[in-house]
Amino acid sequence: MIPAFDLVILIFVVICAIAAITVKDLLSAVMILGAYSFFMCLMWAEMGAVDVAFTEASVSAGIGTVLLIAAVYRTTRRSKD
């Protein structure tokens, strides 16, 4: 475990999380969320939880994002907050 790497990812994760809930365009928010999930899964892989990371990559960053995008397409990209 490399602390610096760890810390950088953690900071990225936090930035992504904040961005995901502040961005007004829903599609961008969803994309950022996908990035968030991906960073998260990197972090877990780095922490030794390969299975969790794999699952997170396939589920949250993969199917989850796809579902969200589908939903955003189905509904609207507009958001007031």
């Binding site: 299975d51 794999f54 396939s58 199917i63």
Partner: protein
Amino acid sequence: MIRSSEDIIIRTVSRILVPFIQLFALYVIAHGHYSPGGGFQGGVILGASLVLLLITYGPSDTRRHISGKSVAVFSSLGVLIYSGIGFICLLLLGNYLDYGKLSGILHVTPAEARSLGILGIEIGVGFTVMAIMFSIFFDISSGGKPPEDEKE
């Protein structure tokens, strides 16, 4: 919402990638014992490959590969495999999901029987997850429209 994609690049690339994705998914399921992965991840990847097909080729072409009915059959079948294996253990006078008892009918040591049992349920999980992921995506992206050409 879903209609076949007009973009030839996406169509072609996904056409070529899908078999490999699916094989990779099966690999993930089969090698859950040795490397990260297992039924769930593999199932999701399988589901994702179907979603890819659905996005690029639209519902009707996708249905050639997996029909609406077989999606539902798979989703039930997977969990049935899982709970069925558990139930067989019950019939073999073990507790529920006690795969060690399968050694009697499989003619292997209990540890190996457990290993095989794990494989069995991973497959079950994979089926269900694949079918359900696909079906959820289908429902969400179609948003309540009845499928155009499904035969009841």
